[in-house]
């Protein structure tokens, strides 16, 4: 499982934020990958077919 992503956001220069402000913002504006699955990886043909009967994304 991936660790929480590192926020390497390119902060627009003209925002004029200090390092401290950026650090504080990153704590509250965070996007962390919690789970990442590949619905088709490793599946047998039958699994793929039957799974694709419904096209909605499922499972986290």
């Amino acid at each position: 499982m991936p660790d929480s992503i590192k926020i390497s956001i390119r902060v627009p220069d003209n925002l004029g934020l200090t390092k401290e402000q950026i650090t504080a913002l990153k704590k509250t504006v965070s996007v962390e990958i919690v789970a990442s699955t590949a619905p088709l990886a490793g599946r047998t043909q039958q699994q793929i077919v039957t799974q694709m009967v419904e096209v909605r994304p499922t499972g986290g």
Binding site: M1, P2, I5, I7, I9, R10, V11, P12, L15, G16, L17, Q21, I22, A24, L25, K27, T28, V29, S30, V31, E32, I33, V34, A35, S36, T37, A38, P39, L40, A41, G42, R43, T44, Q45, Q46, Q47, I48, V49, T50, Q51, M52, V53, E54, R56, P57, T58, G59, G60
Partner: protein, 685 residues
């Protein structure tokens, strides 16, 4: 060698799918487009001898058949009609167990249309049941057993009058009504001698996104369920790294393909040679991606890391059973804790691993099954691992088949090794019923300790459950006494409340494949399981809410944005950001990130903090589904991105609502947050 007109026909793999709509699904088409590597290698060998064979890909013909307007004609007759006017002297069919009945029916039609031509079968299934096949089907002329690259050209020469059939090693044939089985041909020791497969004879190659490439042959292990020992005779061989890299490079140059399935039953037997291949791959200028098969006791952490660096993106691990006792019974002898460590290691390198397990062994007890099902569930805790659970098929040539060949059972419960569709073709069914010695893989061995119908349904339940609600299944198994217990309670509940049972194995598969199962199961969890979850109730409730939200008719799936996110960032305060297409946003009452963390570590879900969180589900460019949890401010900003509000208006709203912006002016915090969401691919402007 006298020239023959030769047609080589690949074994079909997509013909189980009688439903055109399903067959057209992208993922199935990917399987169907796999280049038939065995046939193409043989074709290249013939080309070296001045014979250019015609290649018939039955998958391609099958799609043509499905899309065609001809009615009242079955696929076999369709193929025969396609070949009717072709003046071939020899038709050579590749065979695999799952479509062997169909291949034989097609061969019969071809023989009817070309009574003078020789019909030759080769490949793993025909090799394993050569005598039985010729005895059962008088229209077949020859079987080439084992590796065909040396034998088949000799056979063609003999058919053209140059050579004696009884002197060709590795063939089985009919002479004056008797079946003659010549001694085995030797295996090909130096695989570098073999030419590049004749991909140029395979027109579909230009559309393929990956290419199979044989890296070696022969697995030295002797597992009881496996049938390839006879074919490759347990003689482990590898092509040289230079040869494989040279072929990968050539394919890349001609077809632009950079992803390869390196075909070998067990690539990692010889560590030094795997290292040599990886080092060669790292040393070459091009970057290739590849997948392979391995045993968990033939890799280690260091080797997996090297393989990942060298471009390995997928590994097929045959674990076979989660029972240590059965590991010994079936001769696999994998150490299960070590298997888990290696699977975890591959996961940590983002190598997509298939962990393949089998149930339905004759010696398997309920406790063994419980351990296997538990192993499947434990695999679900790793994002890059996809467990497979197969029903045992007594493959011809396996020691299990030899042991039980007189006690095989035929019912409507087929192993997915043998049949991957939903309804067995009646014509195939009739052949199978008449010739158990030719088609044993469609039969079952006795399982005195297990109810096969129950096991079949468990398999459907687990496989479709993990595809539809992966983490909920893990949580229920962890807090509900194991996945077997959950399944048994679910089955009882369904019979009691929904009055649903199954008349056949096919009916079970169909039910579990449909959304109806998902809805019924969530109802079961809510009405039956949640009350028993104790301290894990909030966490499991959140997992149910997550799943239910995906089914809600008003599920907040974002519409198609009017424009694309600019590469350079937010363009102006007048832009109106919107959720990217397909983004699914869910609000939960429990810390989802903490739930998943605990499930990964097998920690109790008791006492997971109850607090509102917002998560979003998105599909990545690599076709993975990512679930992300948003920080409070990111969630607030995301909610305001409706495609109408401008950046300036969102900043203004944040300011007026008094959102916590960590002491940063709201409009600046807003731009910061929007830029983060944009860079993370959640919004577009």
């Amino acid at each position: 060698m006298p020239e023959s007109r030769v047609c080589l026909i690949s074994p079909p793999t997509a013909t189980d799918l009688e439903d055109r709509e399903l067959a057209e699904i992208e993922a199935v088409r990917r399987i169907a487009e796999h280049a038939p590597i065995g046939i193409l290698t043989l074709a290249a060998v013939l080309e070296e001898r001045g014979i250019v064979p015609r290649i018939i890909n039955l998958n391609t013909l099958y799609y043509e058949y499905l899309r065609g307007v001809e009615t009242g004609i079955d696929f076999c007759a369709f193929v025969a009609r396609k070949l009717e006017s072709e003046p071939f002297d020899v038709f050579g069919f590749g065979t695999i167990c799952s479509t062997y009945p169909l291949t034989i029916r097609i061969a019969r039609e071809v023989k009817r249309a070309h009574p003078e031509a020789a019909i030759v079968l080769g490949g793993p299934q025909a090799s394993a049941v050569d005598v039985q096949t010729l005895r059962a089907f008088g229209f077949l002329d020859f079987i080439v057993r084992g590796e065909a690259e040396k034998t088949f050209p000799l056979l063609l020469s003999a058919l053209a009058g140059d050579g004696r059939l009884d002197l060709i090693p590795g063939i089985t044939f009919r002479r004056r009504g008797e079946i003659v089985r010549n001694p085995d041909a030797p295996v090909i020791l130096d695989l570098d001698e073999l030419p590049m497969p004749a991909f140029h004879l395979y027109p579909e190659m230009k559309n393929c996104r990956s290419a199979p490439l044989e890296i070696g042959r022969g697995c030295p292990f002797g597992c009881a369920f496996c049938s390839t020992n006879g074919f490759f005779r347990r003689r482990f061989r590898l092509k040289s790294p230079q040869r494989v890299i040279e072929q990968m490079r050539s394919i890349r140059q001609v077809y632009g393909i950079e992803r390869f399935s390196l075909i070998h039953d067990m690539f990692t037997v010889d560590r030094k040679r795997v290292v040599a291949f990886c080092e060669a791959a790292l040393a070459c200028e091009e970057q290739f991606q590849w997948g392979c098969s391995a045993r968990t006791d033939c890799v280690d952490e260091e080797l997996i890391a090297l393989m990942a660096r060298a471009g390995c993106r997928s590994v097929f691990f045959g674990v076979e059973t989660g029972s240590g006792r059965l590991q010994r019974v079936i001769g696999k002898n994998v150490d299960l804790p070590e298997a888990t460590r290696m699977i975890r290691c591959a996961d940590s390198h983002h190598i997509a691993s298939s962990a393949s397990l089998i149930t339905g062994f004759p010696e398997e007890t309920v406790e063994d099954l419980r351990e296997t099902a538990g192993f499947v569930v434990d695999c679900l805790r790793f994002d890059y691992v996809e467990p497979q659970l197969h029903l045992l098929a007594p493959l011809a040539g396996s020691s299990i088949h030899s042991q039980y060949r007189d006690r095989l059972l035929l019912d409507d419960i087929f192993s997915d090794m043998s049949y991957q569709g939903w309804r067995q073709d009646p014509a195939d069914g009739a052949l199978i019923a008449s010739h158990p010695e030719v088609f044993p893989n469609f039969y079952a061995v006795p399982t005195p300790w297990l109810d096969r119908r129950h096991v079949k349904e468990l398999r459907d339940f687990v496989l479709h459950g993990l595809a539809r609600f992966r983490w909920l299944l893990v949580a229920l198994a962890q807090h509900g006494g194991g996945i077997l217990q959950v399944f048994e309670e679910w089955k009882a509940w369904r019979l009691d409340i929904l009055k649903k049972g199954f008349a056949s194995g096919a009916e079970s598969s169909l039910y579990y494949s449909r959304i109806e199962f998902r809805r019924d199961f969530l109802q079961f969890v809510v009405s039956h399981c949640l009350a028993t979850m104790g301290g894990a109730f909030p966490a499991v409730s959140a997992l149910v809410a997550y799943e239910a939200s995906l089914d809600a008719p008003d599920a907040p799936v974002a519409p198609e944005p009017s424009g694309c996110a600019p590469a350079g960032g937010l363009q102006s305060l007048d832009g109106a950001p919107i959720l990217v297409k397909g983004l699914h946003v869910v609000e939960l009452d429990c810390d989802y990130k903490e739930i998943i963390r605990r499930l990964r570590e097998k920690e109790s879900l008791d006492g997971v903090p109850a607090r509102p969180v917002v998560i979003a589900i998105r599909e990545t460019a690599g076709k993975r589904l990512e679930t992300v949890q948003l920080g409070d401010l990111a969630a607030h900003i995301l909610r305001l991105c409706d495609g109408r509000r401008t950046v300036a208006e969102i900043g203004d709203l944040l300011s007026r609502r008094g959102e916590d912006t960590a002491g940063v002016p709201p409009e600046k915090a807003c731009i910061f947050g929007l830029e983060l969401l944009r860079q993370e691919g959640l919004i577009a402007t």
